[in-house]
């Protein structure tokens, strides 16, 4: 008998016979349920629910759980071993989920079951730790059975990991997105209403083209699309200018430019929009100056498309830059030298050779800017004015007075269709063509000189951007210290005091500032989700790079999909899907952690894939032939070599969790308020002082974290640099 089977048998047993089956209302860790345990119907474990509380439908769960006892003492090669495990696991999974979905808060969930069996007279709540343990046990029974059948060379660990990732992606990405689709076809009383769906889908306020002919607003879909294209173009052009200046000119302050491009990554997205208001709003610095100097009447021109475009271009240019710099650096100098020796001048070389070779990078940058713009929630929220976009429309359909879930679902579907098309176009277009110009061998030579007009253009684009960025961040840093921006510029510490005051009360320190609650929650949730994100990302990358199995392409697509799903869509999906049993986790911290894990997972996967591809596969194989199992190999050989990637994934997911807003805004609750949601709330109330003060504290903390970790990783890389090079050499040899 395999030890792993015993382990999961024990875990499943504990889940069924000891832990409370249903979710505890005040949280499992409150432990107050101890008083009523195990007799109380709310806290009883599965076995007592089935036997003592008239919930006989939980009985088969226990039988499936006990089934693997029948194979105790059998060898994994015994055909019965695999058969029993697969049967128990798959039946257990399907049955447990089916009963969870079939019986909800009001008894039978589906009318036909009620007509079939009559009124149930009982109901159940969301699944708790007991059910989670049991379901995990079933999942791993199934994977161990599959491994015993010879899947993935019988590797229990790898099969288990694949099963786990598939299950998680299915539950936390496909299920909520599917739920949106379902809600779109329902009216607000959960009846099937396809006519209503089409009515909503083709509504005038989504697809209307009134703005072309009359002085009314166009539909939100057109607004979003138009804005996304504008932002995609502008960020790509700006990013290219940046990349050219950093790689192809002797510009002195390159380092500073690089730092400036990091800043927006650690900035909550709407903070840029906020700063734009402080500059160009009615009482903004520039507007006031223009009024004073030139008698130009301040207007609200910044609210709407110009403001969003401006803020998003500022915020997303670094993303385009990061994409393009790799491409620009990757162009082999010998291509350009060949062109020059063939009598082409530098302009011709640039336009006929360099630029076409950058095409995949340009496409990639454009599509990323396009997707980011569509998905952005914060800037349109702050700067939108009358210019409605999809992400805002979704938000107000859910939280606004109309509370129209169907409309939110329809808008989410439109938004999802846009981003998925862009994602698909990106993969398809880039997948087809090979522009690889790096050969792996050292390619000596010098890049061609940048043509004068390109250089002039690049400087003209980048220097104002850089200056503006510096101004914006100075304002964010100092804006928190003035009483009322634009009206009363006298120095004050009131905003910081209001947010972060600490007083000594009767029982020692009291965190009395208004921001502390959301601040600690944010730190806690980010700190919990970061290692989980990095871990799942790494394991997924390992499976994708190092294992081959049937359906791997679909697996890869599934894990990468959430990259293309805007946060607002995920947010809507989560509140629709996880507000009711069997998975009832809205309003908890868990849903925030899960949301961050699956929002940020693709980044971890990509980082893992990129660095794992650099590690010679024979290192893994050497470890395997030396008798190490795949888990040992992962732990002792692969993971240590991936340390920089792991750290990067950790930092990134931590920072993203601190700055995220679009999905979070739907998921925060009184108990679990996040910093960004709190700040946005203050902005909506025009309480700019506190919002700016809080934002600047967040930015400083994240900058500090990034530099600290960069410093640590950089150090390590220095000492192991030769080792690193060795591993790369190994792969090209």
């Amino acid at each position: 008998m395999n030890r792993t089977v015993f382990l999961w048998l024990a875990i499943g047993g504990i889940g069924y016979a000891i832990l409370p089956w249903y979710a505890i209302e005040d949280g499992f860790w409150s432990l107050y349920w101890f008083s009523g345990y195990p007799g109380d119907i709310d806290f009883a474990p599965g076995i007592l629910q089935a036997l003592g509380h008239d919930r006989p439908w939980l009985l088969p769960v226990g039988l499936a759980m006990a089934a693997p006892l029948a194979i105790v003492g059998r060898d994994p090669t015994d055909p019965w071993y695999a058969t029993v495990l697969i049967a128990a696991g798959s039946f257990g999974l399907v049955y447990t989920l089916a009963q969870g979905f079939a019986i909800g808060l009001n008894g039978w969930e589906f009318g036909f079951l009620e007509s079939l069996y009559g009124d149930l007279g009982d109901r159940q709540f969301g699944m708790g730790y007991g059910a989670v343990f049991v379901l995990s046990a079933f999942l791993f029974f199934l994977t161990q059975g599959a491994a015993a059948r010879g899947a993935i060379k019988g590797d229990v660990f790898v099969v288990g990991s694949i099963g786990l990732v598939i299950a998680l992606v299915a539950v936390f990405i496909f299920f909520p997105v599917g739920y949106i689709l379902l809600s779109a076809f329902q009216d607000n009383d959960a009846n099937f209403a396809p006519a209503l769906f089409f009515e909503k889908l083709f509504a005038q306020d989504i697809w209307g083209l009134g703005c072309l002919t009359a002085n009314v607003n166009c539909g939100v879909a057109w607004n979003s699309l138009f804005m996304a294209i504008l932002v995609g173009v502008s960020t790509t052009v700006m990013g290219l200018a940046f990349a050219l200046i950093v790689t192809r000119t002797g510009f002195r302050a390159k380092k500073l430019l690089r730092v400036l491009t990091v800043l927006p990554i650690v900035t909550p997205p709407f903070v840029v929009g906020l700063a734009v208001i402080l500059l160009f709003g009615r009482s903004g610095a520039v507007s006031t100056f223009l009024e004073w100097g030139f008698d130009i009447e301040p207007t609200r021109w910044i609210y709407g498309l110009p403001g969003i475009w401006f803020a998003q271009t500022l915020a997303f240019t670094p993303i385009a830059f990061l994409v393009l710099i790799g491409v620009v650096e990757g162009i082999s100098p010998s291509m350009e030298e060949a062109s020059l020796t063939l009598r082409a001048n530098d302009w011709r070389t640039f336009s006929a050779i360099s630029l076409p070779l950058m095409r995949p990078g340009l496409a990639n940058a454009f599509l990323l800017g396009f997707i980011e713009s569509l998905a952005d929630f914060g800037n349109p929220m702050v700067l939108g004015g009358d210019y409605d976009v999809l992400s805002i429309g979704i938000f107000f359909a859910i939280v606004g007075a109309q509370n129209d879930q169907g409309r939110a679902a329809v808008l989410a579907l439109v938004l999802l269709a846009f981003t998925l098309s862009a994602f698909y176009a990106q993969r398809r277009w880039l997948g087809r063509k090979s522009y690889t110009t790096i050969t792996g061998k050292g390619d000596s030579g010098l890049h061609a000189r940048l043509p004068a007009r390109v250089r002039a253009f690049s400087y003209a684009a980048v220097l104002p951007w850089a200056a503006l960025t510096v101004v914006i961040y100075l304002m964010i840093m100092f804006g928190g210290f003035v009483k009322t921006w634009g009206l009363d510029h006298s120095f004050t510490l009131n905003h910081y005091a209001e947010a972060f005051s600490v007083t000594t009360g009767e029982y020692g320190l009291v965190w009395s500032g208004a921001a502390w609650n959301s601040f600690w929650t944010t730190l806690q949730i980010s700190a919990i989700s970061a290692p989980l994100t990095a871990g799942i990302g790494l394991i997924t990358a390992y499976i994708l790079v190092r294992q081959t199995f049937l359906g791997k392409d679909a697996f890869e697509f599934g894990t990468m999909l959430s990259f293309a799903i805007p946060g607002t869509v995920i947010g809507v999906g989560y509140i629709l899907a996880f507000n009711v049993p069997p998975i009832e986790i809205t309003g908890t911290g868990v849903i925030l952690v899960i949301c961050f894990i699956f929002r940020n997972m693709p980044v971890g996967v990509r980082a893992g894939i990129a660095s794992m591809s650099q590690i010679d596969k024979s290192l893994d194989e050497a470890s395997l032939t030396l008798g190490a199992r795949s888990f040992t190999t992962l732990r002792r050989v692969v993971a240590p070599l991936l340390r920089p990637a792991i750290v990067a994934a950790l930092v990134y997911s931590f920072v993203r969790a601190m700055t995220a807003i679009s999905a979070v805004i739907f998921l925060v609750s009184a108990n679990y308020d996040m910093a960004t949601a709190y700040i946005l709330g203050r902005v909506e109330n025009s309480d700019f002082g506190l919002a700016i003060a809080y934002s600047s504290v967040l930015i400083l903390i994240m900058l500090g974290a990034i530099f600290l970790i960069q410093f640590a990783v950089g150090k390590r890389r220095q000492s192991k640099r030769s080792a690193q090079q060795f591993s790369i050499e190994g792969s090209t040899a």
Binding site: A622, L626, A628, R636, A723, G730
Partner: protein, 355 residues
């Protein structure tokens, strides 16, 4: 130092391995005797590395049986086979010191660290690297890295030791020395060893037996001498050493010998089962003897190219039976280009081959 375990045989029975549509190994069978060094030789893409990886368990065959000793290991994963491998890139773990690398197999098997390191030190001495334990692999030269890789593979006392083109990353001089060391180590430890290379000279030098592979199947199996002197077919004749292949005709069989006609000339050599009729004749370049003295009515030709290579001359000769490639060790009296020569065939290095 001796190994505790006895070396095992390796047997393939009709093994096939395909990657999607591409068949890398097609229905091959062979047996490797315990304690021998067998080379898998062939051009790149012939399936030799796949065969090696099938022995290691890094690939699992689609059909057929793989046996190590008497045990059927066809479906057994690499971790569970008693086989170790030295990789082409050495695959030393760059984040571990040399001693940690060598001891890895032992510590994975839960041996105490101190004991594992003591044993690893012994093995480092065995390969002549005593005292190098605390270095990182990147601080060693290519040859030293190679030795560490060998020590790491030996420490588990495998039933079978595998080498995947172990010398291809070394320069020519070092390659010769390393292959001698590997040979000595193999013989003194009596290990069953399977060695993959595309270098025919290396294969001839180290092997007890050679399995020549071509296009997913075995082209010929035999001792180095068999393979070189009596290649079975055109591919082997061409791949192992150089050979000029000419068309000839067997006119009569006389005992063990066959009388053949090449163009206008007659010659006789061992018939090796060939019968009267047209055949292909493979001629080693050193078996063609050129002389400038005008001979009798023998075969004649013209030197179209003469190349000086230090310890021998290479000639290309146009003749009635085709263009001949000739190696001549008499460098003191080179034949100038354009000269008329008479051509004779030596008694060795001329053999019949199948298409």
């Amino acid at each position: 130092m001796t190994l505790g375990k006895t070396a095992s045989s390796v047997r393939f029975e009709g093994v096939t391995k395909a990657f999607g549509e591409v068949v890398a190994v097609r229905d091959i069978s062979f047996t490797i005797e315990p304690g021998t060094l067998v080379t898998l030789l062939g051009p790149s893409g012939c399936g030799k590395t796949t065969t090696l990886r099938l022995i290691a368990g890094l690939e699992i065959s689609n059909a057929g049986k793989v046996l190590i000793g008497d045990k059927d290991v066809t479906k057994l994963a690499a971790t569970d086979r008693d086989v170790c491998m030295v990789f082409q890139s050495y695959a030393l773990f760059p984040h571990m010191t040399v001693i940690e690398n060598v001891a890895y197999g032992l510590t994975v098997g839960n041996m105490a660290r101190a004991e594992a390191h003591a044993k690893a030190e012994d093995h480092l001495e065995l390969v002549g690297l005593g005292g190098y334990g605390e270095r990182l692999p990147s601080e060693l030269s290519g040859g030293q890295q190679q030795r560490v890789a060998v020590a790491r593979a030996l420490i588990l006392q495998p039933e079978v030791l595998l080498f995947d083109e172990p010398l291809s990353n070394l320069d020519a001089k070092l390659r010769r020395r390393m292959r001698e060391e590997i040979c000595e180590l193999q013989q003194s430890l009596g290990l069953t060893t399977v060695y993959v290379t595309h270098d025919q000279e290396e294969a001839l030098a180290v092997s007890d037996r050679i399995i020549v592979m071509d296009n997913a199947v075995i082209a010929q199996e035999g001792s180095p001498r068999d393979i070189y002197e009596w290649p079975d077919n055109l591919f082997v004749a061409d791949f192992i050493g150089d050979a000029t292949v000419v068309e000839a005709e067997i006119v009569a069989i006389e005992g063990d010998m066959a009388r053949i006609r090449i163009g206008d000339v007659e010659h006789s050599l061992a018939h090796r089962g060939f019968v009267v009729g047209p055949v292909n004749l493979a001629i080693r370049p050193e078996s063609i003897l050129l002389s400038t003295a005008a001979g009798e009515a023998g075969l004649v030709g013209t030197v179209s190219k003469a190349t000086y290579l230090g310890n021998h001359m290479e000639y290309t000769v146009d003749s009635a039976i085709g263009e001949l490639f000739v190696v001549d060790s008499r460098i003191s009296s080179p034949i100038p280009q354009g000269e008329q020569v008479s051509i004779e065939l030596a008694n060795h290095g001329v053999t019949f081959v199948q298409d």
